[in-house]
Subunit: 153 residues, 2 copies
DNA sequence: CCCGAAGAGTTGCGTATTGAAACCATCATG
DNA sequence: CATGATGGTTTCAATACGCAACTCTTCGGG
């Protein structure tokens, strides 16, 4: 029985060859991506994250610590004074496409017709268009028109 | 077309207005997205999912049940005979952009330079280009050039 | 018809993670 | 110096998870 799983907390990847699995080893839990979402939306302080997500404070402590350890956020002294604040790193900001696609899936499938929800808009107040993978020629890609090439092949 | 009618845990959304939160209520756990990933990559049977992910069998039972209940996969009789198989629904297939962006983040940030990993390629064997949100005018969008418009405002 | 193997779970049980609430420490202000 | 805000830590019960053993059904031979 081939045991693939070895859990990321031991310093091991659960499936070392797969980038999807590695990313989920880092942020694939109930709260991490919501913390990232709020950081992208301007949250900086422990209390602000707690207020927005409603996460338990001990779990938030743990998540902020892990997100910091894994390089998604960094803790720095606020410009205004001597309080510390959490800010996204480049790697954390680079999760933007993940957050946006999660949001857009939710908009399409997790709301009844007519049910209201928050909307992501650009500088001009225009809703952000759907994000979808395309080939080099601009054609839309789907699970059926793509495949995973394993490392050894 | 099956709208995701039900229940994250006890029938309530953890943050009813936010599409990101709703999506994570449904698939924001350690395993669901990996099961979806493998379904996109051709897995159909309980045993095949178990072999690919390494997930514990009782947990896999639970996840397949929840993914079915929430309309990501459906169970149908295999065309070849009388065995049942799990197939992605349209809603499940529509998570493709999420899986791809998670994969691409991992490729950029979770591998050391030179470390090998599996690659997603199109029909011609070409790697899938980076997916990123753009505005209506084609400009790249970032957390700094977008904002969430709340329902009431 | 009987046996065995494979698929798909189910059950029991022990460990790990999570969550709610209370508790603590530091600063700033009145 | 009392009060409140920030940023946690501690405690402890409730879930979730992983492992292994067991069940049930469906073939496929012999």
């Amino acid at each position: 029985m081939p045991r693939i799983a070895a859990t990321a907390r031991d310093g091991e990847w659960s499936d070392p060859d797969c980038p999807v699995a590695r990313t989920l080893d880092l942020v694939g839990d109930r709260w991490s991506l919501l913390v990232i979402r709020d950081a992208m939306d301007g949250a900086r302080s422990f209390t602000e994250f707690q207020r927005r997500t409603g996460i338990a404070r001990n779990i938030l402590t743990d998540r902020l610590r892990k997100l910091t350890a894994h390089g998604f956020v960094a803790q720095r002294t606020a410009p205004s004074g001597r309080r510390r604040e959490y800010v996204l790193t480049d790697a954390g900001r680079d999760l933007f496409p993940v957050i946006v696609t999660l949001r857009q899936w939710g908009e399409r499938h997790a709301f009844a017709p007519g049910e209201t929800h928050s909307v992501l808009v650009d500088q001009h107040g225009e809703p952000v268009p759907d994000v979808s993978p395309t080939g080099g020629d601009g054609s839309l890609l789907t699970p059926d028109t793509t495949q995973v090439r394993k490392v050894g092949s």
